[in-house]
Symmetry: D2
């Protein structure tokens, strides 16, 4: 399917602030980027670099005053995501080298602290994909989606106490639980066509059956129509925007439409 997605930001800075963004998709196994734009106003210099996970990062000194940024993409992406309840657990000795890091605890995913809950959730479930799906469903059912209930310091452990959060928080909890079961899990950020209300989105991938599968704790069914912007261990790696100084976000608009 062909998706047109865009995000528009209006910001205000009292004085210049260095910021990095991850708002530009690159082609990959599940998406081909046919067109993309990245326009800032006023036209200040933008530089780009690739981080340790292969993500494209934009670096900008946001000038004082009002600043707008519009990123858009036209991508051919999978309409469906693969589902395989029988995909088995991949033993650690069979994991590719670069996948091992996604077994470790990270800033927002304290996987070393959720052993009891993980055991309860996957109790009696077939090791592998089915366990990840059990974790995903547990999050979907037991966590409440509530804007403003969490902030950029909120970790999986915090969410497990409050039981509320946004897509990012749901994802952190699911990742922590997967890693606790020795299943590699990584965070994905981007656009989702079916998301309501529309926003930038976060979900996760888990490595079972010898490959990465897509999971989304916010959705009640497995859906495709996703444009990926970045991969990482958790939100510390894949923030859409990191401002090293104070920048006020005045307006934000995200759109995803499908070409018929």
């Amino acid at each position: 399917m062909l998706l047109r997605a865009s995000s528009f930001f209006e910001m205000y800075a009292a004085s210049p602030v260095t910021s990095t963004f991850m708002l530009r998709s690159i082609s990959g196994p599940s998406q081909f980027i046919q067109q993309e734009t990245f326009v800032v106003s006023p036209q200040v210099p933008v530089s780009e670099y690739v981080d340790g996970y292969g993500n494209l990062c934009q670096r900008i000194i946001i000038p004082s005053g009002t600043f707008t940024l519009e990123s858009s993409v036209v991508a051919i992406c999978d309409a469906n995501i693969d589902v395989d309840m029988n995909a088995p657990y991949t033993p650690i000795e069979d994991l590719p080298d670069h996948v091992l890091q996604f077994l470790l605890p990270s800033r927002y995913c304290e996987s070393d602290k959720v052993t009891e809950l993980a055991r309860i959730i996957v109790d009696g479930v077939l090791p592998g994909y089915a366990q990840v799906e059990a974790i995903r469903q547990w999050c979907h059912v037991n966590l409440t989606r509530q804007y403003g209930s969490t902030n950029s310091s909120t970790s999986a452990m915090d969410v497990l106490l409050s039981k509320t959060g946004v897509c990012r928080d749901f994802t952190h909890v699911a990742i922590a639980l997967c890693r606790n079961m020795d299943i590699p899990a990584r965070m994905v950020v981007g656009y989702l066509h079916d998301l309501e209300p529309m926003d930038l989105h976060a979900w996760f991938e888990a490595y079972v059956g010898g490959r990465w599968y897509t999971f989304d704790s916010i959705m009640d069914r497995p859906v495709g129509g996703r444009v990926i912007m970045a991969y990482g261990r958790d939100a510390a790696d894949v923030a859409f925007a990191s401002h090293f100084g104070y920048v006020e976000l005045k307006k934000m608009e995200v759109k995803v439409t499908r070409d018929v």
Copy 2:
């Protein structure tokens, strides 16, 4: 300056052929990509990967029949290129590690075989930028631009015999001569606003005065307005298209316009 550049190709293959292209620019020190598209018809799968020089490569199985590819880019790039006749020779011990490879001979730049000519050209010239400029001018004056006079097997040594060639050949000769003087030189391919007749273009960069400078043996003066698509040691690294099978090029159109 803001340039809009595009290249359109119509190809014909009797049977499917695997091909790789280098027709997509990425942002870098001298250019920021504001928009770019890469559209093929019929819409076959396109995958992308980054080669050892950091270039973005598109990989396509060209289907049998007629196939078109259009790549376009809107880029903010430097209107002028830096010129510094006093930039000194950078001693080899001061070269960054990754620059050293551009001192070595390569497929089309037999730098080990042009000692005598190099010595003659730079005789009495200040070591560094001025030597590269002497080499560039020698090529500009002594080589004749003639389409069809060379092919994909033609190397710098061949061109030094025939004294004719296209931008790629001029560039190979200049690179071979620079490297012979222990000056790192690399090939650059992309768009040049002022090129006549318009076409995809090749030029070179030489490392003097502690940085890369842009040189172009085709032009009679230093001009900017360049959108870079790829860097490499020579044309073996940076072919716009590599077909592993027979593909007929039926039509090709390159456009570069400037936004006023």
Copy 3:
């Protein structure tokens, strides 16, 4: 100075366990590796890969029974570390791209939660090296070195409550405080000649005055004689050993001697 350093481990596993180690040094700006060995017994296969930080990682399936690993290195390294109380704060806009990640919070360094303490410590101190040194000294004075007081789940926030820990914990606190001040800080693990009692060691580097400087909260003075084994954001990145299963450590011996 020329250091000979080695670490010996005797382990016991009831059944095979996949493990990764970071026990092999590579040459770098401050050390040249003249000789190194990595010997396991029984001789099972060992594979190596390079992680996202450039560290060499050894991957082994530890067989059931007793297993020993001995790693040794002969390195030429700096006898002293640079100290410059006047090295200024490096503004974020001047940081190299790859340094930016060391400003972000990480698993064990919740830099976003130590604002108040950081402000108190650096109050009135010259921005840059002097601030980092103030942070280092605060840790050295206010934290108590006590083996067994912390474990692999202990983060900087935990240590700030207990005020006790080992080199790894001291380092996490210092890193969190530096990052809170927008000073990039990374963890370093390896050998230190002057360490007492001898053990594998952890310290940190901070980026001020346009470069990385070495700091060590355990020591009461700036000392060199360090052999670096790995760099990372915190202990989640640079564990000497990560066992994905249960492995008992029966014996461990670390030695560092200086060639006169």
Copy 4:
């Protein structure tokens, strides 16, 4: 099998010369490095970096006077190399991205110029491994091993005229012929236990049957006992030593012994 290999060089430079070496092995799929040393005298600074092919390169400013370098390695490596006459040709569309570059012509392997010979050699031979073996045998039978018959400028085309050369030249010819048949081929340099007379050695790998296989045009049978030091497209990428200035090689000694 466990091999102990070493190479010793005594050099003389009238004035300081920047040089790079590729004389240090790293662990890989077919070898694990248990111990290695790299000792220079006088003890000048040595820095290391990794090139675009993953090889470890040592960079040294050789001082004026006599200079010695000794590199040694203890490696566990395969006693045999895989042979599979039925391994089929791997279609280009199935090649991994990073393998594609080994289809292209390079400085010493003018694969675009050997079409006729390649066709003759593989005439009637099963596509894939058997073709590569036919090429290897053709080189073994038709080229004469003769020290001093070639130099650092000699390419495959030159060798096809003179029909003489050393291991490096045999390898260039074989690689050029493989690539002409659209079979990826790369040069390998290192130690070979069974080589006579003992020396540093060069051979090649070809990608057929979905993986790299080892071939050696110098040997009359497939033998293992190889310690790999570097991979590349041809000798331009994998020179044991590159001197950017004049350095006289006074003495060179290579030893390979097997631990029983």
